[in-house]
């Protein structure tokens, strides 16, 4: 399936999706040395973003978060790409200075954790790896 978005940061990125409906704060919310999400109570807490296509609505928190992304990139812990619903300053600047491909204006609700995703400039291509199962409670 193909989705068209708006290019925030150029480039091609490929990987497994790590998706959340919650905003992410990079400064204080992600450990730049391990790539792990450490924000208390976040639905992705404990998950590593390394090499993933990170899918979330938008960034939040301190503008220092842009440098956190840059630090993750230098440490080899950055996501392979970022897909936002509505990108804002922190993530946009962070993605550009770190040269992480980033697109927004994409209906992110269609992307699930585990999907294979490729970002090539403004186009997001995705393949579902496993059929969705009904989970019984």
């Amino acid at each position: 399936m193909e989705l068209k978005g708006r290019i925030i940061s150029k480039g091609i990125g490929e990987g497994e999706a790590l998706a959340t409906a919650q905003p992410i704060s990079f400064y204080g919310g992600v450990d730049p040395n391990t790539g792990e999400i450490i924000e208390k109570g976040h639905e992705l807490q404990g998950k590593s973003v390394k090499g993933k296509i990170l899918v979330f609505p938008n960034g939040k928190g301190s503008t220092v978060g842009s440098y956190t992304l840059y630090r993750m990139k230098k440490n080899g812990m950055a996501p392979a790409g970022i897909i936002n619903k509505e990108c804002e300053t922190i993530v946009a600047v962070g993605a550009i200075i770190s040269e992480i491909p980033c697109v927004d204006k994409v209906d992110i609700s269609g992307i699930k954790t585990g999907d294979s995703v490729r970002i090539a400039d403004g186009v997001v291509t995705m393949t579902r790896n496993q059929p969705e199962k009904e989970t019984k409670v």
């Binding site: 220092v64 440098y67 840059y70 990108c87 946009a92 200075i97």
Partner: protein
């Protein structure tokens, strides 16, 4: 629709002027497109935040070094406080390792042609925009002061987007650069009486919470001194409002608007509530810090007057945070000698919000509501009060 670029701007984006300008253009174009700017506009000056090595880390330093290779600022550009006093860091308990890294950060900014002012009050040291001028500033208290007290126009930039504006000399025209976005949308009627400087911080707390993400039009205030407005600016934006307010008959532009329909009030009880929220239960005070935002020369004079023939408690550190320039005036006026004779220290170029203070002090007393906010992030217990109360705490080591 994408932002319009002139041929020259397009060439800058294509790399004609090198790496720093290309990266800067990428940032400005992305922000312009996200926020719907039609074009870039010239800026008169830039204030760059993100200077403390404590916040930047090695990655930030590396990024600044990359930019410094071929990046030169095109407009007057000043700098926010660093993580330490650049000359007197040893006396303030900064480690040699930290100092070395911090100096590398400063070297990178120097190479870019930035004035190493290291203050959050650029308007006191020669970066003073005119009314209506477009600027690109970071540092939320200075942004609020520039927009509201001076009447210049700036968005709340982050460190990298401010740097980008400095290298290009322009910023995308959106948000608070456009008059239609500068219209007040909440009326705040102040019925409380304000007696001391810290009351203005408490007022900022209260209005910040009540006018979250809005532009307040404030009535009921008869008079305000510059230092009071400086303190209010820092507080109101820290606790939640937009970096722009109007104060009837006091700040420029207020004459152009009438109070918006949606109205909230601030009563004496709200001021008391602000103190109750900001103040922790603590008696022993390990640090007293005045100067968030950085002290004006008038505030330094007041501190010197109160410390005449007194001694700071051996259990307490007393810091005056200010810009290098104010310190030099203070030296000449003899205030520095009075304050240092009492056992106080000057912390120039730095402040309680960006210095690596975590773990060094368990408690702090200050006149600043913003200072309390950041001290809590540094795991300190906080007390906010008048200058007299803070000096008393410094001399006795206790908050009474």
């Amino acid at each position: 629709m994408l932002m319009y670029l002139t041929e020259k701007e397009q060439r800058m984006l294509d790399g004609e002027e090198g790496y720093a300008v290309r990266k800067s253009m990428e940032i400005l174009v992305a922000l312009g497109n996200i926020y719907g700017a039609e074009q870039l506009i010239k800026v008169g000056s830039v204030q760059v935040a993100g200077v403390s090595y404590h916040n930047l880390g090695d990655a930030g330093l590396e990024f600044l070094n990359e930019l410094a290779k071929d990046g030169k600022v095109k407009v007057l550009t000043t700098l926010n406080p660093a993580g330490m006093d650049l000359e007197n860091w040893q006396n303030l308990g900064i480690t040699a390792e930290f100092a070395e890294k911090q100096n590398l950060v400063i070297d990178a900014f120097k190479k870019m042609g930035i004035i190493i002012s290291c203050t959050c009050t650029p308007y006191f040291i020669g970066n003073l925009p005119r009314y209506g001028e477009h600027i690109a500033w970071s540092e939320s208290s200075a942004v609020t002061f520039a927009n509201s007290v001076i009447g210049a126009k700036t968005n709340r930039e982050g460190g990298p987007s401010a740097l980008a504006a400095a290298f290009v000399g322009k910023t995308p025209c959106y948000g608070l650069h456009l008059d239609e976005n500068r219209v007040p949308n909440i009326h705040v009627q102040v019925n409380a009486s304000l007696k001391k400087l810290s009351d203005w911080g408490a007022l900022g707390y209260s209005i910040g919470k009540k006018a979250e993400n809005k532009i307040p039009y404030i009535t009921g205030i008869k008079d305000a001194e510059l230092d009071e407005l400086k303190s209010f600016c820092a507080s109101v934006v820290t606790y939640g409002a937009q970096p722009l307010f109007y104060m009837k008959d006091i700040t420029p532009g207020s004459e152009n608007y009438s109070p918006p329909k949606e109205t909230v009030t601030v009563e004496d009880k709200d001021i008391k509530d602000a103190y109750d929220n900001i103040n922790d239960e603590v008696t022993d005070i390990e640090l007293v810090c005045i100067g968030c935002p950085h002290c004006s020369i008038k505030e330094i004079a007041e501190i010197a007057e109160l410390l005449k023939n007194r001694k700071i408690s051996p259990n307490t550190e007393f810091w005056v945070a200010t810009s290098r320039l104010m310190k030099q005036i203070s030296d000449k006026r003899g205030y520095t000698e009075t304050i240092e004779r009492a056992g106080g220290k000057f912390a120039c170029d730095t402040c309680m919000a960006v210095a690596p203070l975590k773990g060094r002090f368990k408690s702090v007393a200050t006149t600043s509501a913003k200072g309390c906010y950041y001290s809590r992030q540094n795991k300190m217990l906080t007390k906010m009060g008048s200058l007299e109360e803070c000096i008393e705490a410094a001399v006795t080591g206790k908050w009474s």
